[in-house]
């Protein structure tokens, strides 16, 4: 559901902090017909050009608040809303070179009524501006 709409194409950039490129970021949506409290987002997986980013190196940011995936597990007062574009940050010293990169983005959700724990994935080629 919504698989091919998870990765948004309008923003793909290196993240610079204190003059240093610390990683890259893109906008991602929850593949679901509703939103979800952050404690029920079990995992977010990102890979770039086939290289898997470690769970510890992923940050999730909505409405100005940024969380690690471990922090999200006990966040009961914030949500990833329906269709909301979250900023997904992957820490990778030096960031990415300008040009095309194949981004893969997967979300595992704990959904109360489902007798399984779904993981949904989208893969898109995004262009990083020089």
């Amino acid at each position: 559901m919504m698989d091919n709409k998870m990765i948004c194409t309008e923003q793909f950039e290196n993240v610079v902090e204190g003059g240093e490129t610390i990683g890259f970021a893109f906008l991602g949506r929850l593949p679901y017909y509703r939103g979800l409290g952050l404690s029920m987002v079990e995992d977010i997986q990102v890979s770039v050009d086939g290289e898997e980013i470690a769970r510890e190196a992923i940050r999730f940011s909505v409405r100005g608040k940024t969380y690690t995936l471990d922090e999200m597990e006990t966040v009961y007062d914030d949500r990833w809303n329906f269709g909301e574009k979250a900023r997904i940050i992957a820490l990778k010293p030096g960031g990415l070179a300008p040009g095309a990169h194949k981004i893969s983005f997967a979300v595992r959700m704990r959904v109360s009524y489902l007798p399984f724990v779904p993981t949904t994935r989208d893969t898109k080629e995004l262009a990083l501006a020089a």
């Binding site: 698989d3 509703r34 029920m40 949500r79 329906f82």
Partner: protein, 339 residues
């Protein structure tokens, strides 16, 4: 002329609202133009923030403005109750009841008659919340949805609990997808696209039509050499079946809203997999006077291949329903949705 009323669950427009292609006002106006005046929502789909963060009064005021401007009626707030909110432990009973009460309050703020409970919620939780629902003039309806059905022990357990509680605030919301009398074409086509050999897909479709037990279908598909997606296509028959619409008749006194589930409406106004003529006849026989709310769910079966046109699909279903209900006017759209 039937006393059954037409409505739409805005779930139907999820493909468009997810992408910001339709606003809440676009959705409400579309329903109103089609004469589908009952509006059902999934609270947390329509209102960002619900339930963990909450919803501001201004957003609720805008909802009421839309209802008034377009002459539409709030019907149901479908709530979720995330009892798996905490990793590794289920939400305690009292907290579940409090959560349902919170959704009763939200339903009341939105002017809803009903709130929809998911079928996996325990009857004791709903029974405990019923007195509060009565106070707020809201009915809690559990959604009877495939693979469950009105003869399933879990639903019978709910029915018995509701009768024992003796509360009119407890009832059912049947989803018409449980009366799946043919394997949906859009499902078959999706499985063909992911690599199911045509002869196997044809076999599964025919076996479904012949009402063959799903376990036999799965074994036969394995013996035909089916793997991965072919097995998945056969396994779908474990979770869907052609139950009989007339089974609703025993529960009419507790059925207050209907999900008009559909997967595909053809250009000549037919849902090839769900027998709406029979369904409407049963509901009329049972004296049903509530809404049938369109619930389009074909989107997820075609989105890999083409952009769903949810408005056109809902329009076609509303035309079909109006015909079956004996209405004189054919529902039609006046305002195109900007792409």
């Amino acid at each position: 002329m039937s006393s059954i009323k037409r409505g739409v669950s805005l779930y139907s427009f999820q493909n468009e609202t997810f992408q910001g292609k339709m606003s809440l006002e676009d959705c409400v106006r579309t329903c109103a133009e089609l004469g589908a005046n009952g509006i059902e929502i999934i609270g947390e789909q329509t209102f960002w923030g619900w339930p963990e963060v909450g919803v501001e009064d201004a957003a609720v005021a805008e909802w009421h403005r839309l209802m008034q401007a377009y002459g539409t009626t709030p019907v149901s707030h479908d709530f979720m109750l995330d009892y798996k909110r905490y990793k590794g432990r289920e939400m305690p009973f009292d907290e579940q009841v409090a959560s349902v009460k919170n959704d009763i309050d939200f339903g009341a703020r939105l002017g809803m008659k009903y709130i929809r409970a998911l079928v996996s919620i325990a009857p004791e939780v709903l029974v405990a919340a019923a007195p509060y629902a009565e106070e707020k003039n809201i009915k809690i309806l559990i959604e009877v949805h495939a693979p469950l059905h009105f003869d399933h022990p879990w639903i019978i357990r709910h029915a018995e609990a509701f009768e024992k509680a003796g509360s009119d605030a407890l009832g059912f919301l049947p989803d018409m997808g449980m009366f799946l009398f043919a394997y949906p074409r859009v499902w078959k086509e999706k499985f063909l696209r992911v690599g199911v050999p045509r002869h196997i897909a044809d076999y599964i479709e025919k076996a479904y039509e012949d009402r063959v037990l799903s376990e036999y279908v799965i074994l036969n598909v394995q013996q035909m050499g089916g793997t991965g997606p072919a097995i998945a296509m056969a396994e779908v028959t474990r979770h869907n079946a052609a139950f009989e619409p007339k089974r609703m008749l025993d529960y009419m006194h507790r059925i207050h809203n209907i999900h008009g589930k559909f997967y595909e409406m053809t250009a000549d106004y037919v849902e090839p997999s769900i027998p709406y003529d029979e369904i409407v006849a049963v509901l009329q026989k049972g004296g049903y006077t509530g809404y049938i709310c369109s619930e389009y769910e074909g989107n997820r079966w075609i989105e890999d291949f083409e952009e769903p046109d949810s408005v056109e699909q809902v329009r076609r279903q509303q035309v079909m329903l109006a015909r079956l209900l004996g209405e004189a006017t054919v529902p039609s759209l006046k305002t195109p949705i900007a792409a």
